[in-house]
Symmetry: C2
Subunit: 591 residues, 2 copies
């Protein structure tokens, strides 16, 4: 029922007008000229619109079914997965040594947005595999890489991440899955893992599980945790598949959304595993992939909201209901389209201005990750700071956006066949997994702010200041963009200062404001993104280059964000500065 | 899986410490002494916890099924409905002349909250009947009242409201259902209605449909609309059931939530109907019930959030994860309970402070409706102003609350068997039906603000000022309650002033800010509620009366609201004062 069209024009604007990816000196970047990236995005868009989007509702309705120990994916998923593989999409930004195309990560993110927006649940099979690929690529031995990566790059084998257990999610120090060392250097893995996305299914020959477990001698808590590669089928020396391991699906969870993805309880009953990375340093190995994984979830948040938004716009243009207060706009019809009404505009502009800012932030984050991979420590520090914001803020706002889009449909939004409910239900998970958003806020305030002596957050403030200084002479942008950004940045600095002054004496004062800080940061960095986009759009207009209508729309959308969304920073600051007294006032039994 | 306990202590506080219901001079109010209302609330609470709450998940999982033209409700619903009927709950606040108990509406609302929180979908069968009862009671002839009301008070017959058609919801002027006058004074009703809650089911002998339709000669738009009583089975003179009418269920909608309620497409194929109220004045007849119906939906918003909150608290106390940043609080256990963490506190306090404020506002609204019924025009004007706020603000915030409660559960919140997803999915509809919240905002700003020359909103401002003046000497409350309330009220007045100055010249300037105004009003009136509750709690403490712990908790919760929620008014004002330029900047095709 729902439609999806890849926002290619907007992506091209970000890649070339804002990030200027092909002008960068990073390896492989000079290939990324506008015509080349456009061709890639269009091909991805076509696959998304024609193959993946039509399966979105099918996946929701049919879900995954466990039959005789085997997970069956919804009708059409297998054929679509083959189409994605054949198109080479699974290895777009993977290492050419293992069959990847070696493209910049920012291109993987751009095409990723397109696939996620079209069918989030479906894309997870590939997304999880990419995560497992990255872990093995970063920490595996040469033999492990040769054994697993080529098949994972092609998605002939898919991957999973096994962290959570029934009694522990965030607090992995309590995990109980054991790894017993064997004489041949392998381990026998025993334990139960839950919430394993793409844990098993019928679209690949093998599933490569990455499993956190405790091997003897590692001590208490997270220190004793190691990461293991546990394939569903053992792999013979010649690469062919051997014995089926004692790894089984306990059940498929019935979830609120993403029904097309098999979320499994996985039972490991003495399955063979091989250490990935160093013994007892599994947490560190996991953390090196964290920025990418969390950026990927932030992307899910706004990508699903983009799809919801597109449909809300279509509905608002088509549905005739009421008359514009300023006089009929469709006088020959029985009523005006919804889109004439100011409050419908507000809802659509909220979504549009947030989405475009979110895309800019995410692409910028991916660009920073590319720079970090190329050895730019400053970029790596910055993206590490921004990651919890990207994950937490964008998934909260993305979910809100789907709810707003659903609201545009009125009663029809609540009826499943219209498809808007699915967007809401699917988007909801992104606020929870890969570290619930409260954990993102804790990571931001408790860890990232103070990292390397606060260098990265200082760097961010300097960057904002520098941006404002550079563009001060731009009269067209001063009042609409630079001044609101300055005010937001000031609020963010005041909040950081409050934490510094108070957090030492009473850490609760910082933590009680952590969630608001994440949102305050989110708005400020989206303000910066809008500032940058405005500069780029104004420049193109001044130079009389390209599609003036597009650039004017961009500026108008940005003005909305600065006027209507950015004022939230003041409220977040007020909440933060109220400290922890009212937050911690009650005893547990008084709730 | 989820638990529910009626918040009787809190309700008693509102009824007696804050609203002082038994001290009122309204008819029937002197009976409402604390021991009496407590007994009623406890009986309702017991029924809710033991009978209705256990059926909440059942209703969600099984839904309603259409079999051979008959709607089957979920297992156990029929027996539970009998229990509710036998308890006399369906007629608690109905007219004794027709078998009701004649209690104050505020008591109907208090028990209603309990039933809705336990099982929203189930309670709708009774709730819709109450709405239809009120319409017939207000507008019916003596004969109509005698024919229908006794059976509706007892819920032997249930009722429905038929407004929406496939092409029109808000814009009822476009409706197509026809009413052809017959010689015997009846009409033949033909047309299709959608989204008819409790449209048909197997728990009552008859269903009395109230249907909006166009009779000849009424002219265009809403002016030509009349309201008709269309029983599923005709009623013989002796009250027995006669012929089955040509009224049928086209289908049951598959919805995001409230699966236990049968939401039907209803087809009327020349069914006999009788005019209810005046010909061509059906809209007016509907509007007289609007305040109650909308207050009832506002109640749904926060009642479901209350149930979700209670479960989040239980989970936060039980689930061990991580350690308090200020030192282990459960040193003998493997980890501390979630509730030690400041960000979990923030989420719980957000919910608690909002819920208790919402309950106070809703009970106050019900009290005003009681006063209005007794002829107090000022009360009626005030509740008419507050109704869109109660409906729009409380359902938005209630939904947000369910999302926050779900978030406390982490990954388990996303798994259906834990029950938190259902709260979110159920609560979502309250933002949509009975006038989508954007329509509430429009009603507030476009209609209610200016009603009777702005008298009611002025009255509200005077009331706030009066409250602050009266309590100025109360040093314990000044900084924590009175000053924040003053600031919020000032923001609200500034917004109203902005609309007055700008709205005449450009109505879009008012409408673009309508949604923010509804929330700004909501926060301000909740600020007033918290002020009143604080005064009452402080008074009880000063007098050394009752449970000091309860009153101290109340004050602490109120302080949280004033510090952490009320600052939102500044952001809403900033958004409003930005006018409509950025909201209306784009042409429809630029979205």
């Amino acid at each position: 029922m729902t439609a999806y069209n890849a926002p290619i024009r907007d992506m091209q604007f970000l890649l070339h007008d804002v990030l200027e990816v092909s002008a960068s000196d990073l390896p492989g970047r000079t290939d990324l000229e506008p015509s080349f990236t456009e061709a890639i995005l269009e091909a991805a868009g076509q696959l998304a619109s024609e193959v993946l989007a039509p399966l979105n509702a099918v996946g929701d309705q049919q879900g995954c079914v466990l039959e005789n120990g085997v997970v069956r994916t919804p009708e059409g998923f297998k054929a679509a997965f083959e189409a994605v593989k054949e198109g080479g999409w699974t290895g777009l930004d993977c290492d050419p040594e293992y069959g990847g195309q070696g493209m910049a990560y920012v291109m993987g993110v751009a095409t990723g947005e397109i696939f996620v927006a079209a069918n989030m649940a479906f894309n997870m099979y590939q997304g999880l595999t990419h995560g497992a690929y990255s872990a093995i690529h970063a920490h595996g031995t040469d033999e492990q890489k040769r054994t697993y990566l080529p098949k994972m790059v092609s998605c002939d084998w898919t991957g999973t991440m096994n962290l959570t257990e029934p009694h522990c999610g965030t607090d992995l120090g309590m995990l109980r899955t054991r790894a017993e060392p064997q004489e041949d250097g392998s381990y026998l893995i025993t334990g139960q893992k839950i919430f394993i996305s793409a844990g098993d299914h019928d679209m690949s020959e093998n599933v490569i599980h990455l499993v956190l477990a405790k091997a003897p001698g590692g001590g208490e808590g997270t220190k004793g945790i190691s990461l293991f590669i546990v394939p569903k089928f053992l792999v013979n020396e010649d690469g062919s598949l051997g014995e089926r391991q004692p790894v089984s699906v306990g059940k498929i969870e019935e979830k609120m959304g993403i029904h097309g993805n098999s979320t499994c309880v996985m039972n490991y009953d003495g399955a063979k595993g091989w250490l990935l990375g160093d013994l007892h340093k599994g947490m560190r190995a996991m953390f090196t992939m964290m920025n990418e994984a969390r950026l990927g979830v932030g992307l899910q948040g706004y990508a699903v909201a983009e799809a919801a938004y597109q449909n809300a716009v279509i509905y608002a243009r088509d549905r005739l209901q009421g008359r514009a207060v300023t006089g009929a706009q469709n006088p020959s019809g029985p009523a005006d389209p919804l889109i004439v009404h100011p409050d419908i505009r507000r809802a659509l502009m909220d979504q549009k201005s947030l989405l475009e800012g979110a895309r800019a932030l995410t692409f910028w984050g991916a660009d920073l990750i590319d720079r970090g991979h190329a050895g730019d420590a400053q970029a790596e520090g910055l993206v590490s700071l921004l990651t919890p914001v990207i994950k937490g803020f964008l998934t909260d706002k993305g979910f809100e956006g789907t709810v707003q889009a659903q609201q545009v449909y009125g009663g029809h939004g609540y009826i499943e066949e219209w498809g808007m409910s699915q967007f809401v239900r699917d988007a909801r998970i992104a606020m929870i997994y890969e570290g619930a958003n409260g954990i993102q806020a804790l990571d931001l305030v408790g860890r990232k702010l103070a990292l390397d002596g606060g260098k990265h957050v200082m760097g961010f403030f300097e960057m904002v200041k520098g941006f404002i200084r550079e563009n001060e002479g731009n009269a067209a942008l001063k009042a609409d963009f630079l001044e609101p950004l300055k005010a937001a940045s000031k609020d963010l600095q005041s909040a950081a200062m409050f934490f510094m002054e108070r957090g030492m004496k009473n850490p609760n004062d910082a933590l009680a404001g952590s969630y608001d800080f994440m949102h305050l940061f989110g708005h400020t960095v989206l303000g910066l993104m809008w500032g940058r986009m405005a500069v780029a759009a104004q420049k193109a207009l001044d130079e009389g280059r390209g599609d003036a209508e597009f650039y004017r729309t961009k500026l108008a959308t940005g003005r909305y964000y600065m006027k209507r969304q950015l004022p939230m920073t003041a409220t977040h600051l007020a909440r933060i500065q109220s400290g922890s007294d009212t937050v911690m006032a009650l005893a547990a039994e008084q709730f």
